[in-house]
């Protein structure tokens, strides 16, 4: 079974305790009265779909209940890093790292 490290519990926990929750670091545009339809549509619907490392939101739903962020490789399904919500994406320095994918702002 794939193990995922919960940054709040500080433990490797079984994958089925977690839920995927979409791309991480998506910034909500604002203020609302100055956002164009195109910007809002992009915020809601437009996502990258890179091959390689992506930053994602995950939730330890059957555990501590917290949302956190994870860098996962979409080719190997390896979780390169997990970090608390609100923290910046960690630099790519892990051994055997594939080419870093472009992070969204």
């Amino acid at each position: 079974m794939l193990l995922i490290r919960c940054p709040y519990c500080g433990m490797d926990r079984p994958e089925i305790e977690f839920r995927h929750a979409g791309a991480a670091h998506i910034i909500r545009p604002g203020p609302p009265d100055r956002v164009t339809d195109e910007e809002w549509a992009a915020f809601l619907y437009l996502r990258d779909n890179p091959k390689g490392r992506v930053a994602e939101r995950w939730r330890h739903v059957h555990g501590c209940g917290r949302f956190f962020n994870a860098v996962r490789d979409t080719v190997t399904d390896v979780f390169v890093a997990t970090y608390k919500a609100g923290e910046p994406r960690p630099p790519e320095s892990a051994p055997g790292a594939s080419e870093p994918t472009e992070a969204r702002p």
Partner: protein, 181 residues
């Protein structure tokens, strides 16, 4: 439900007496005040449980740290109102959420040398004593349902299951016990 309970030489599943339960959400700064009012220091480390007294007997207190700012408090049924009032009073100055969940869940005790094996029939956690030593408490899964597991001693597990899912849990336990016997 009692006829469905598991009772073999290697493990025994028994139902806990009626208990009062609370979910307390609170910032770390209010921990000392809460512990003082509750009569038991709330564990600071996450996924840890603390207790004193005997389950269901007067004065018994349980505190389980299950989320970064979340503690479950379990006390004898008759002392629920008193504990609730004491905590509300002591924490009046702190942002907090104290919610009674007494009837949301039912408690079980799973004990015996095969208890961890039986739990692992449906729970994916590593329940070896190195990875999950006595004192650990966490939510996890058992087959298709969520549950809370608190290891009180190497072969004693205290479990909390949502009330409506308890028959499923007891039946799954009985089935797994047949496989392990």
């Amino acid at each position: 439900m009692a006829d469905g309970f598991t009772d073999t030489p290697r493990f025994r599943l028994i139902e806990a007496p009626p208990l009062a339960r609370f979910v307390l959400r609170l910032p770390a700064g209010a921990l000392t005040a809460a512990g003082k009012a509750y009569g038991l220091a709330l564990p600071e480390a996450i996924n840890r449980g603390a207790s004193h007294g005997e389950r269901g007997k007067p004065g018994a207190r349980v505190a389980l740290h299950l989320g970064p700012d979340e503690w479950w408090l379990i006390v004898p049924e008759a002392e629920g109102a008193e504990v609730f009032a004491a905590l509300e009073k002591a924490l009046a100055a702190h942002p907090r959420s104290l919610v009674e969940i007494s009837h949301r869940q039912v408690g079980f005790v799973l004990e015996g040398e095969g208890a961890a094996d039986l739990l692992n029939a449906g729970c994916p956690l590593d329940l070896s004593e190195q990875a999950f030593p006595p004192g650990m408490a966490t939510r996890s899964l058992f087959h298709r349902i969520g549950l809370m597991i608190w290891r009180m001693a190497p072969s004693v597990f205290r479990l909390e299951i949502d009330r409506s899912l308890a028959p499923y849990f007891v039946a799954s336990m009985a089935e797994s016990a047949r496989d392990h016997s």
